[in-house]
């Protein structure tokens, strides 16, 4: 009985002296999965206001054939070149898919981006045993002050056979306009995979790897080491456009131009340093500038969608257009399409394709969904 009383006494006294550590439960500040230090060098452009840095995961996307195949000799070289310049983005450039995190840029040009979630499965390329995702660190002027980089998609209005509003994958500007973003990209760590003859490293990317690593055509860096498991910072010199062309013809991926610039390191080993704008010597391939890094693409399979020409002539104001032979990697095609670029003041470049006979997938679809080849619309210019 005395023992029982002693135990009871200990229990009561214990309750009075309770307290050892702080319980957090499900609350408390979440620990970042990884943090990236960023250092942006140089002077921001005049007029830049609220500068932020965003971590943007990349999309798997293929440029449309018209933008990369040589211009058909039968076509108007000047007009087609103008359309390609106005409507094609860099075929080797980084294509944003989703903004994962944002952080304000300090006056000294530094920032720290904390990432609280892994990239989702749709951002990773590969299967469960070997998959990888890549991201670019983007410095931008947060014009609308919403604290995040708004992504836009190419503008294809309804009278251009577009899907109209609400049918896209862009995050938009926050105002419901998917085709326009007020935010202005000023620079990025990973802009393009093309080598800069001036020596600037413009392929510094964030990588997240699960399982093994397989070299694929998803932002390849052939010749460089594999990204380490989990998060890492990678750098590469980029490849030349000539190497990219020959590798494509051989069905391989182009080798990096300067393997000494290959870097695979942990995020803790130092900041990711990059500057504003584009290097002066960079051979731009069609894209206008780094502003395209605020543009994602609406299609998930990169296929080109073709339109049936409307009865009335579409509004071509502020657009560039040309008649082009249907691009082919084999024998030249006799099909002529009418290609119209987006407006010059659109946030993102893009092309709209009209064919007189065919389907959404193209002119070679078996039974065509429309056929105006015998009676083209009166405005048809080709």
């Amino acid at each position: 009985m005395a023992t029982l009383k002693s135990i009871a006494l200990v229990a009561v006294v214990g309750s009075l002296g309770a307290g050892c550590g702080k319980l957090h439960g499900l609350g408390g500040a979440p620990t970042p999965l990884v943090s990236f230090d960023v250092a942006v060098t140089g002077t921001p452009p005049a007029g830049a206001g609220d500068l932020d840095v965003a971590l943007v995961w990349g999309r798997q996307w293929l440029i449309e054939p018209l933008c990369i195949v040589p211009i058909d000799a039968r076509d108007d070289m000047t007009a087609v070149t103008a359309v390609k310049l106005a409507g094609c983005r860099d075929p080797f450039g980084f294509i944003p898919a989703r903004v994962a995190a944002n952080a304000p840029l300090n006056p000294d040009g530094t920032a720290t981006i904390d990432l609280f979630a892994l990239p989702s499965a749709d951002l990773m390329v590969g299967d469960l045993t070997a998959r990888v995702a890549y991201a670019s660190l983007v410095v931008y002027d947060d014009k609308n002050g919403d604290g995040t980089l708004g992504l836009a998609i190419p503008f294809r209005p309804a009278d251009f056979g577009g899907m109209g509003s609400g049918a896209g994958s862009g995050s938009g500007s926050g105002s419901g306009d998917l085709f326009h973003t007020p935010d202005e990209v000023l620079g990025a760590s990973f802009i393009t995979m093309v080598n800069d003859p001036g020596g600037a490293v413009i392929d510094q990317r964030i990588a997240y790897r699960e399982g093994a690593f397989l070299t694929t055509g998803f932002y390849p860096r052939a010749g460089c080491g594999d990204p380490p498991p989990a998060f890492s910072v990678l750098a590469a010199s980029g490849f030349t456009i000539a190497d990219a062309g020959s590798a494509t013809m051989m069905g391989t991926v182009p080798q990096e131009a300067d393997l000494s610039q290959c870097v695979q390191r942990t995020p803790e080993s130092g900041p990711v340093t990059f500057g504003y704008g584009l290097p002066a010597d960079l051979p731009l391939v069609l894209s206008r500038d780094v502003k395209e890094l605020a543009c994602t693409e609406r299609t998930t399979d990169s296929t080109v969608r073709y339109r049936e020409p409307p009865a009335d002539m579409p509004d071509l104001t502020n657009r560039t257009s040309a008649c082009v032979h249907y691009p082919s990697f084999g024998d030249p095609s006799d099909v002529i399409e009418f290609v119209v670029s987006g407006r010059s003041d659109d946030s993102c470049v893009g092309l709209t394709h009209y064919i007189l006979k065919g389907c959404r997938e193209g002119p070679d679809c078996g039974t065509p969904d429309w056929d105006h080849s015998l009676a083209p619309p009166s405005w048809w210019p080709c």
């Binding site: 029982l4 009871a8 309750s15 009075l16 309770a18 702080k22 319980l23 979440p30 999965l33």
Partner: protein
């Protein structure tokens, strides 16, 4: 002639088998009565007098002491001493666990309850009713794992952490016991509980079902 004989023969055979069956049952019954190692007898469920000490143990369920939701489950045990015919006192202890998740954390709590208890009781035949008040401490051991942390390569305290805290706590339970056989009871208890977490009172509940032993 043959048709008249058949029912008579059938009746005789049936009567003979019935007699044999009764004899067999009687032998079987008498042999069972003579078995001294049987499990149940006339005194098996008799209510006998018992001592002042009651030990019980069983399965426990309740609201976690420091998690916002869920049901913590585990085991509990107690030792009571009857003090007079209406009162009793003793100690109780229980351990239970619950795991909950949010977007960023998976948290496991081990709740160890140590209580000094007093009760008011009423015996009614085989039954025992009591109102039990307990006070003491609930020692909460917390283990948190950062979701996706292992895939992201986190290690050490960035991946998981543990801490222990002791919370002042108590509960008021209704207890029902039923003397089943000999010193054994079936017991069930349930009632509201109260913990002090970060200076705030936090209500909950706890319930237990199990067996008691009162020699």
């Amino acid at each position: 002639m043959r048709s008249r004989l058949r029912p008579v023969i059938l009746r005789c055979v049936t009567r003979r088998y019935a007699t044999l069956a009764f004899v067999a049952l009687g032998v079987s019954a008498s042999s069972a009565y003579a078995d001294s190692g049987r499990m149940i007898d006339d005194d098996t469920f008799a209510l006998s007098s018992h001592g002042p000490y009651l030990v019980d143990a069983g399965l426990l369920a309740g609201l976690p002491a420091a998690l916002p939701s869920g049901i913590t489950t585990g085991i509990g045990a107690g030792l009571m001493r009857e003090c007079g015919c209406r009162f009793g006192y003793g100690v109780r202890a229980s351990w239970s666990t619950e795991t909950a998740s949010s977007i960023t954390w998976t948290v496991t709590h081990w709740d160890t309850r140590l209580r000094a208890v007093g009760e008011v009781r009423y015996d009614a035949g085989r039954g025992m009713l009591a109102l039990r008040l307990g006070a003491g401490t609930t020692i909460v051991h917390e283990h948190r794992v950062r979701n996706q942390g292992m895939r992201a390569g986190l290690t050490g305290s960035a991946l998981e952490d543990s801490t222990t805290d002791a919370l002042p706590a108590g509960e008021l339970e209704a207890v029902v016991g039923l003397h089943i056989t000999g010193p054994w009871l079936a017991m069930i208890s349930a009632g509201p509980s109260l913990e002090i977490l970060d200076g705030d009172f936090r209500g909950g509940w706890v319930a237990q079902i199990g067996v008691g032993w009162q020699p």
